[in-house]
Amino acid sequence: MKNLFCFRLILLSLILVQITGCDPEPAGQQFSGHDSLPQSTDRQPLPLPTSGINEADLNYAPSFPATVKDYRGQDIEIVNQPQRIISLLPSHTETLFALGAGDQMVGCTSLCNYPPETKGLKKITIANPGKISLEALVELQPDLVLTGGDYHREISEQLTRLKIPVLSFESQSLLDIKGSIRGIAAATGHADKAELLVYKIEREIQAIQDQLKPYQKKGKPLVFYQVWNQPLMTAGPTSFIGALIKLAGGENIFADVKIAYPQVSEETLILRNPDVILIPQLKEGSTDPAATLLKLSQRPGWKQMNAVKNKRVYLIEDDLISRPGPRVVQGLQKIAQALYPEAFQEQ
């Protein structure tokens, strides 16, 4: 009896070892693009452009295969110029169209609403990581999928396991915008336009800041950005919106809170007395500013705030300030106009 038991135990252990020991995929090749295709020996990876626009070549021809380093720090190899790109982030979609790669796309999320050409693309997912159907993605036979950093980590891993090239670009700050523009351009064969676009964005941001400088002598306005009212939530200085407010020459009224979107004390807000209140709206003109001001003034204690007394409550289109993409300059412009209306009166 005992011998039979021992024999069965050993047999079971051997079987288990066999099953777990088998590893068909060596770990090193897991994130490579197409290790099954023959690799040419004289392949040169496309050098990422690093300096100014002087190197923009009018006779630029994209050279593939290319190796692009993405947010995860991995070198992703793109064998041919992608013609079936899927973007899982609205800011990446906008970047693709800004670089001229719009006709190389086959799909995007249902939240990608700019530019109008996105209407022709197949909307396969809603920008909710849990709702992305892997099958719907694969059915479109993409040769490149652009995802958004940690937010899409699971779907990125699943796609990579299926040998679909995935480029993951974090989209949380202004620095991320430049990195993702350059990376996406290199991956889609538009590296010449990347530096132009980055330079254009930097120059426009600088222009806005120069326009504001003469009006900043009296100090910066105290800005309160309201995310929600019950409980009172705002955008802290560490968030993307907080960074935009700072760039637009405003001082965040909750600059001492390090959480990105914290719940804050109404008492402190009243005591610190904001000069400007910013509230997001879904679309341009979807909310009546006068009605908004009335509702704010009905809240106890808010009527005495500088922002409410001087009618400096502004509604900003949400898409412009929450998408770290090429349209960030428009969002910055809108915030700057709200903070320094006198600087834009001549135009």
């Binding site: 019950q230 909750f254 004390s265 402190t268 009243i270 005591l271």
Partner: protein, 345 residues
């Protein structure tokens, strides 16, 4: 009889004192420093111009009073549920009031965000509270119906109520999760509501909700003797002449209304409805004539303390008060385990 009533009041005095201290601390401490001198001055001579007076009267005072009422309401409802179900683990959310209110609030937040921008108008607030209140009543109503109509409901009414409550709670909770999942952009808002908070509540909310809490709490206090009898068990209660079915329904309906009002205004704040009656029972004994007002006072004081902590610890940012009360639950349970263990020795 007279000496017994005096005895009753005397034993409640320490808890009343605790509540008073908690209220004073709550008014004094906060993100904005209000010294005792300023408080005294502004309480007796409220002036329209002073910013401190404004903060005190319009922001801090309503918040502290609302916290006290909600804490008292939840504690009284918890004591009632523990008495009716004769179960020390019963809390006000055991038959689905909290998930029902969550469902009502979620649906309201969805409908309101589409048509109006994310602001609170004075006409918007009642919709959210009303919807949450009705949601709670609806779910508990369904639980009652299941318990009344089923065969097991007639044989073992209490057990059926608890089981049906659990089933409906998890179903409603799944519905709320589904709505949150399908509406990703509302996820953070709904989640923040669920965590429970007193931030942004003013006198409007108090005038809406506190009368309901006071009325239903008072009704439960009137039912102290029936609660005492019910705690002996159905058979004993019946032989002592109590119409158990009728009184059970009255007490449960009152307790549900109280819970629904509390959750509708401040979200789901757990543990207080469970902790406060137990702590009061240790201090004042199990007779409901003392237990109900005692847990009301203790619950109110604890909630005010929890809210004060929630808005001062990382000032000017705030922690949702539900998190603070949940953290207070752990030492309480450990204390209970140790004290119960010593009792059986």
């Amino acid at each position: 009889m007279q000496s017994r009533q005096l005895f009753l009041i005397w034993r409640l005095l320490p808890l009343a004192g605790f509540l008073l201290v908690a209220l004073l601390v709550g008014i004094h401490w906060g993100a904005v420093e209000l010294s005792f001198g300023e408080i005294r001055q502004n309480l007796w001579n409220p002036s329209e111009d002073s910013q401190m007076s404004l903060i005190l009267w319009e922001i801090r005072l309503p918040r502290v009073i609302l916290a006290a009422c909600v804490g008292g309401g939840l504690a009284v409802a918890g004591a009632a549920f523990q008495g009716v179900f004769r179960n020390p683990l019963a809390d006000p959310f055991v038959i689905g009031a909290s998930t029902g209110a969550a469902l009502g609030a979620t649906i309201a937040l969805l409908c309101l965000s589409g048509s109006v921008s994310i602001l609170s108008a004075t006409w918007q607030i009642p919709w959210l509270i009303l919807s949450a209140f009705l949601g709670a009543l609806l779910v508990v109503g369904v639980v009652f119906i299941i318990a009344a109509l089923s065969q097991t409901g007639r044989n073992a009414p209490l057990l059926t109520l608890i089981l049906a409550g659990m089933a409906l709670s998890s179903f409603t909770g799944a519905l709320v999760s589904l709505i949150m999942f399908l509406n990703h952009e509302m996820l953070a808002t709904i989640f923040n509501w669920l965590l429970g908070s007193f931030s942004g509540r003013h006198w409007d909310e108090i005038s809406l909700v506190v009368p309901v809490i006071l009325f239903s709490g008072g009704l439960i206090w009137l039912m102290s003797r029936p609660l005492d009898l019910l705690s002996f068990g159905d058979e004993t209660a019946l032989t002592l002449g109590l119409a158990t079915g009728k009184f059970r329904v009255i007490i449960l309906v009152a307790a549900t209304m109280c819970t629904a009002a509390c959750v509708a205004v401040s979200g789901v704040i757990g543990f207080l409805g469970l902790m406060a009656p137990h702590m009061t029972r240790i201090m004042l004994g199990p007779r409901h004539g003392l237990l109900i007002p005692g847990s009301c006072l203790l619950g109110a004081g604890l909630m005010v303390m929890a809210d004060t902590l929630a808005r001062t610890v990382i000032a000017p940012a705030e922690i949702p008060v539900g998190i603070v009360t949940a953290m207070m639950g752990c030492p309480f349970f450990l204390f209970l385990l140790i004290s119960r263990g010593q009792q059986t020795k």
